[in-house]
């Protein structure tokens, strides 16, 4: 497989991630997803190629994943983030059997066996089990999202937030603040609430160790601790939790190319062009 390079493009609802790999990761780019997925895909790909010092036609195979995967015109294959996260974790943390991915607007649980996804659950309907929940609450409290995790760890007397609806919870925290509850205690309560929602969803898979946390939520120390408390044991974190999907996508691309070579099959490759996509392509 010398001289072969694989790209994984993960367009999430909040963040877009691109990874270029050969045996190891050569370059990665993380940026916010805006509304224009196609332009964005082109731009981050360009940036990644620049960092990897590669020309686009040197890329053997491109796999797109994530919410916006259908908007990557130069992708050779679209694969769901479930398969990609599974493949990524199988590579990064082979002992993991359950993955919990907490994104900006959705969350998922994935069960692995022998490095492959065998079952999954998703929540993309209700904000209450996602990063959005904390975002809305942070706004109501006048705290920056980045600080939420750290602040939650300072709680001495965690407040219970009973509303599972993001909007009601935001009302509830404001009410509790005016009643005199400490900010850290409230924030800890919010983390507990979101951890409960996520745990409730993932347990449908019959959780097995080791458990890995991925996605933006895994970078929130407060949420990690709250989830570990629910699990009853520590969770593993990949070095960069946001890149798991893109890494998995690139690796699946490598698997596909390898299988095609072994079978002597020719693969369909998209034009290696990063031109502006028009409405009619």
């Amino acid at each position: 497989m010398k001289g072969q390079y694989f790209a994984g493009v993960d367009i999430g609802s909040t963040m877009t991630k691109v990874v270029i790999m050969d045996e190891a990761t050569l370059a990665s780019v993380i940026g916010p997803t805006g509304p224009e997925h196609r332009k964005l895909a082109n731009r981050v790909m360009e940036e990644a190629l620049g960092r990897a010092k590669l020309a686009f036609d040197e890329i053997t195979y491109v796999v797109a994943t994530g919410y916006g995967r259908i908007n990557v015109p130069f992708a050779d294959r679209q694969i769901t983030e479930i398969s990609c996260h599974a493949r990524g974790i199988a590579h990064l943390l082979p002992e993991v059997r359950t993955v919990i991915d907490i994104g900006g607007q959705d969350s998922k649980g994935i069960k692995l066996r022998d490095g492959r996804a065998v079952d999954f659950v998703m929540n993309d309907k209700c904000a209450a089990g996602t990063g959005r929940f904390l975002e809305v609450a942070a706004e109501s409290l006048g705290v920056s999202l980045e600080e939420m995790g750290r602040l939650s760890l300072e709680a001495e007397n965690r407040v219970e937030i009973s509303s599972t609806c993001t909007v009601f919870a935001a009302q509830e925290v404001v009410a509790k603040l005016s009643e005199g509850a400490a900010l850290a205690d409230i924030i800890a309560g919010l983390h507990e609430a979101i951890a409960t929602r996520i745990y409730g969803m993932v347990r449908r898979l019959k959780i097995e160790r080791e458990v890995a946390l991925t996605g933006g939520g895994a970078k929130n120390i407060g949420l990690v601790k709250a989830l570990e408390a629910r699990l009853g044991f520590p969770a593993l974190l990949p070095p960069e939790p946001l890149l798991t999907g893109a890494i998995g996508a690139a690796l699946l691309g490598r698997d596909i190319v390898k299988e095609a070579e072994e079978k002597g099959e020719k693969l369909k490759i998209s034009p290696r062009r990063l031109t502006e996509a028009t409405l009619f392509t």
Binding site: E160, S162, S163, T164, C165, F168, Q171, A175, T196, Y199, G200, M201, R203, R204
Partner: protein
């Protein structure tokens, strides 16, 4: 229920009557009794309230475990969430009956551990000997819940008997069909007796059954007469208390203890009326709880209504009896036949009346009857999101009431019976306040 909540929120609901105040300890004692009975090897039957089986269960000395009640207790103690989550973890949809979700979550946990889940409310619920569902019109969980529970307790037998009643229709009268309804019910009740004899090693004592049925008839009368006393102005007992007194009505039907309870309640209400003692000293608005199960964890809302001068002299929910002497029952010697006739006549009681008012139905007639007899100013309905049996039809009933009778002020509250995450106290209180304003405006016209 006069329950203590978790340490952070010590909100005791005040009861208007002493009778209602006895309920908390009564329920707690009954649960402890169940656990003891289990240890002694007595047969325990998971049961639904008001399924028509009470007299048979009591006559055979079988211990009923009221699973809806246990879920209600978890709700009142605000400790239902972990059981609901467990059920969701088993792939039961959150949109199903939250009593069932709570029960299924609890049972699957108990079965997995081989013992009670940690720190269970009031000692928990023991593994049953049999589970008695019912296929009557009341609701789907009554034939699905225990079947689903059997997935976690495959060796526990389930009985589902049908107790339907003639619907109110234009193309025929209930008298044309009641005979085959009664025949069916008798056969299903007989089937229940056979099932219980087979699986509990108890034999039915038919003499005893006749006696139990007699107590139950007299209890129906006693309850009706006691509740009729609430027509008084000022009203001595409200729906909040009735949500407590439903306990002996549904958990102890057919027992002397149950009958005695309502005799005591009757006497207490008579005393209060003689002393002109109302629920609140300054009664401004009289309201009808027109339908819907209450939020068990938010019974303090009734106190909130009271604080605004509003009382609830009457409710439809859990008023599950009529005076037996009004039901025009044929004289039969077989107690099962008597029960069947009582069931069918209870449910067809207002059919004739509805026919006299175009567009009306028996449910609407009942609302009208209470509005007139109890001098009602406004109607409150509660939509519990997980209960598809009592709640569909409430909006329509309210609309139809206004169409065929009069435009009476009304309020629709929304949350759930057990799932506290559905309840928004601030929003509920705001709605109540707005409703009080409406009532005041109508009164001062």
């Amino acid at each position: 229920m006069t329950e203590e909540k978790k340490p952070e929120e010590k909100k005791k609901r005040k009861t208007a009557t002493e009778a209602a105040g006895k309920i908390g300890p009564m329920v707690k004692a009954a649960l402890a009794e169940n656990l003891r009975a289990k240890e002694e090897g007595k047969p325990i039957a998971y049961s639904f309230i008001y399924s028509g089986y009470d007299e048979i269960i009591r006559a055979m000395d079988i211990v009923p475990a009221w699973t809806e009640n246990y879920a209600g207790i978890c709700g009142v103690k605000r400790d239902a969430q972990r059981f609901l989550e467990r059920a969701e973890g088993e792939n039961f949809s959150r949109s199903l009956c939250t009593y069932a979700l709570c029960g299924l979550g609890f049972d699957s946990w108990r079965e997995e551990l081989g013992e009670m889940p940690p720190d269970p409310p009031w000692g928990g619920q023991a593994r049953p000997t049999v589970m008695l569902g019912s296929g009557q019109v009341i609701c789907d969980p009554r034939y699905k819940w225990y079947q689903a529970a059997q997935h976690y307790m495959p060796d526990v037998p389930v009985y589902v008997g049908g107790l339907p009643y003639p619907p109110y229709e234009e193309d025929y009268d209930y008298r044309e069909v009641q005979d085959y309804y009664v025949k069916y019910i008798v056969e299903e009740l007989r089937g229940l007796v056979e099932f219980l004899e087979k699986h509990t090693n108890r034999k039915m004592d038919w003499e005893r059954l006749s006696q139990v049925v007699d107590i139950s008839d007299r209890t129906w009368n006693m309850i009706s007469e006691a509740y009729d006393l609430r027509k008084a102005v000022p009203c001595p007992m409200g729906t909040g208390d009735a949500m407590n007194t439903m306990v002996p009505m549904t958990f102890m039907m057919g027992t002397q203890e149950g009958l005695d309870f309502f005799k005591d309640l009757y006497d207490e209400l008579k005393r209060k009326i003689a002393n002109r003692e109302g629920i609140i000293p300054d009664e401004k608005y009289r309201l009808l709880w027109g339908g819907g199960l209450p939020s068990w964890f938010a019974l303090t809302d009734f106190n909130y209504f009271n604080s605004k001068g509003a009382v609830f002299p009457a409710e439809v929910t859990y008023r599950l009896v009529e005076p037996v002497y009004n039901l025009d029952l044929p004289r039969v010697s077989d107690p099962l036949e008597h029960l069947a006739w009582r069931w069918v006549r209870y449910w067809t009681y207002r059919h004739d009346r509805a026919r006299k008012r175009p567009g009306s139905t028996p449910d609407v007639e009942r609302l009208i009857e209470y509005i007139e007899d109890y001098k009602i100013d406004g109607v409150v309905m509660h939509e519990a999101f997980s209960c598809r049996s009592w709640h569909p039809g409430l909006i329509w009933q309210l609309n139809q009431l206004k169409r065929v009778y009069r435009d009476i002020p009304s309020l629709v509250l929304e949350s759930d019976i057990v799932d506290i995450s559905s309840y928004n106290e601030a929003d509920t209180r705001a709605r109540i306040d707005a409703f009080i304003d409406t009532l005041e405006a109508v009164k001062s016209r």
